[in-house]
Symmetry: C2
Subunit: 447 residues, 2 copies
């Protein structure tokens, strides 16, 4: 595709800085070696990395302390400092993650679907790495190890660009990864960290298709939108999580209460938290007052359509056993914009719908194609919901909070895709690979 | 993802013309119905379309005659007129293609890998359509039926933009598709043709992510490069086919002669024709003069590296049984640019390499990641070539000319991808689909 060989081009002609050109060339060279690395060498690297993370905890914490001091001096908020912190527990968790990945089967090189064709040739597909991916992420330094370990196991090379506030921690972690690769006779350049916090380098990383095949951003929506707009290679996009739970008629209302409560209030900030509740008209009068009582007790603001407001205002007192009395300021009228909103906060939009069909139409129109759930006891409704809701994860009688690579058994998660192309939903090892055709003949020619 | 519902936006605010806005809205609405269409309805449509294509041959040929007259008046060349022509045989071929697709299994809605997770939930993946794709193609009107039938079978909606020279034929064909859809109670808008040849509409088609999920261009490299550069949605790119055959040491030289001859000379214009021949040093002296004699007899120009020239010039006479004597003007020295070149003509570049490793490195550096083959009798060499050559199709002892959706048993081919993301190599029904996660619980909540 490139009519000039990448390695032959001087930096001045590519528009790339010397540092990015070098990272790119080294990554491309390393990716060829990683693609043919044995499962044993890759697993040995991961186990070695786990050992190093434990053995070097003190060194890593020293590096992390520099970042924390700088962040405190810069007046970063408490939650931001928490995310930046590399505690011994956090290091133990990522070390265990490396060991879990090492224990998983290697999917690279596997051939599936090999079949004889009428011409005589045999045709199948081999799973191969994507090549080189670039990852751009904010604050949490443990992402450095998560990304590196997934990259190694999937036979890719990667270029990592972490948040500037975590640069010392990330450099110390990346150094351990290089050491683990070298000790297992794999190329240290298979995992490289952009060594500078110069923002111009991000612009270069996402626009060098000769060296980088895929970009994975992790962070706020504005970061991801900007990267998607400016990238010259495919991007695994994770935009909003405007997740819905639809409480169907008929369903187990006690189950519905429990699942909606969990989906909304177990944590408010994750992308897989519920932001919008749809309730079938047939169960609204019984369900909504109980649900509202739970939300009221937890201080969740409810932005409601007229029918929901009508039900809740006609029954302002919570039923026996519910958590408390509704406070009127928590009940407001939803605007059109509310149905699109990802609050990431103790706020939920609520709408009464006629039934399944309206629920599916509403979700497909206003949702963000992330994760949506139905609570139902009707089999046909469950099947229709699974088939027709156009989202990366579609659930029956389960909390949207399960949408996660670990919960799905992917071993780890490099990101979540709200796109339909290549990968949907949580992206694990398979999302970092591709299938190529392999053809076996015996001197066959086409007539 | 879109914070305003597509159907609510007036054309003036989208930058789209009324016609494209309408096509987009209709396609999006039809795609929801197609995604849940039964296999029976989709197959019935395809069989009905096959019947209509045969029953309406005369009408279709009248429409085609208008295009042919216009093309002749405009002075189009013979090969272009051939490509434009909708003969009864061409119509019979596409009708049979529809019947073959109807006979294939429906992959939509199938759930794979359903497994119980430690939390109690069951997680699997369901195959679903991409949604709406746009297809942009040149001259050959039978592509209208190929694209429409693949779109119907895969449960997508599509917007087709054929070449302006085939507009009358394409309109007549698209009308039959609409009729077949309507007769099977599926939305006629599931297949729409851009009714105008205004080129500005192509620019709009590739830049309306709210209505179109994927663009598939078929045509010359410059068309595809321009579309890839300007598109606001993913594009299945088919750039060059700089395909290699590597003649290994050891191999069956008679097989090598036959396969290389077929790969290069059976047809010169297809993207899967061989453009570059690599020969292991150990077999070069025996193989090259015989191969050169075949090429000489067929008038194929050979652009050679110094070692190849040395071998061929020291043995200017073809061996007994070969087709003729080498004419010196057919032998020229290859430039660096020749190794990158897709000739699509009776020209081949030839290079002697030390062995397997150099061959793989050369292919990965200069090739276009389309299709590459090895001729070998060494098992380890075959395995290494399959694993390490970074191309959409990698072959052992078979002609590169087999790289084709029909030959691979895909039933049909919407295009060929030289990318690594989503789909590599020939793209059939599966490339028009995606996998979403489905989660089944029993009221499970996350702790």
């Amino acid at each position: 595709m490139n009519h000039t060989a990448p390695s032959a081009v001087p930096a001045s002609e590519t528009g790339l800085s010397e540092v990015m050109l070098q990272l790119g060339q080294q990554a491309r060279a390393a990716s060829a070696l990683m693609a043919k690395a044995t499962a044993a060498a890759k697993n040995q690297t991961l186990l070695c990395l786990a050992r190093l993370l434990r053995a070097q905890t003190a060194t890593l914490q020293q590096a992390n302390a520099q970042d924390l001091e700088r962040a405190q001096a810069a007046g970063l908020s408490g939650p931001m400092l928490d995310r930046l912190k590399l505690s011994p527990q956090a290091l133990e968790t990522v070390a265990q993650g490396c060991e879990q990945l090492a224990a998983m089967p290697d999917i690279i090189g596997g051939i599936t679907g090999m079949r004889q064709q009428p011409s005589g040739i045999q045709v199948g597909q081999m799973r191969v790495p994507i090549g080189v991916f670039g990852m751009i992420y904010e604050s949490r330094p443990n992402v450095t190890i998560e990304a590196a370990s997934l990259s190694i196991k999937s036979g890719n090379a990667c270029i990592l660009r972490g948040g500037s506030e975590a640069i010392a921690s990330n450099k110390a972690l990346a150094e351990l990864v290089r050491q683990a690769l070298a000790e297992s006779s794999l190329p240290a350049d298979a995992v490289q960290l952009v060594p500078s916090t110069d923002r111009a380098l991000v612009g270069q990383l996402i626009a060098m298709p000769e060296f980088v095949d895929l970009i994975i951003p992790r962070g706020g929506k504005s970061l991801i939108e900007r990267i998607s707009r400016e990238a010259k290679v495919p991007v695994i996009k994770h935009l909003d999580g405007n997740c819905h739970v639809y409480v169907d008629d008929p369903c187990d209302l006690a189950m519905a209460l429990q699942v909606v409560d969990n989906a909304k209030t177990q944590k408010y900030s994750p992308c897989n938290a519920c932001e919008s509740l749809l309730v079938a008209a047939g169960v609204a009068k019984e369900f909504l007052p109980q649900m509202a009582a739970v939300f009221a007790a937890k201080g969740v603001e409810m932005r409601c359509d007229p029918l929901t407001l009508e039900v809740l205002k006609s029954q302002p007192t919570a039923p026996p056993g519910a958590a408390g009395q509704l406070k009127v300021p928590q009940l407001t009228a939803a605007t059109e914009q509310d149905w699109f909103e990802e609050y990431l906060a103790p706020i939920i939009s609520i709408k009464v719908v006629a039934g399944l069909e309206e629920a599916i139409a509403h979700i497909n129109r206003y949702g963000s194609h992330h994760t949506d759930a139905i609570i139902t006891s009707n089999h046909q409704h469950a099947q229709a919901f699974l088939r027709e809701v156009d989202s990366g994860s579609v659930m029956v009688n389960a909390s949207t909070r399960f949408a996660d690579g670990f919960e799905y058994g992917l071993g780890a998660e490099i990101g979540i895709s709200t796109d339909k192309f290549h990968a949907r939903g949580p992206v694990g090892l398979e999302g970092l690979t591709s299938l190529k055709y392999v053809v076996l003949g015996q001197g066959d020619i086409r007539s």
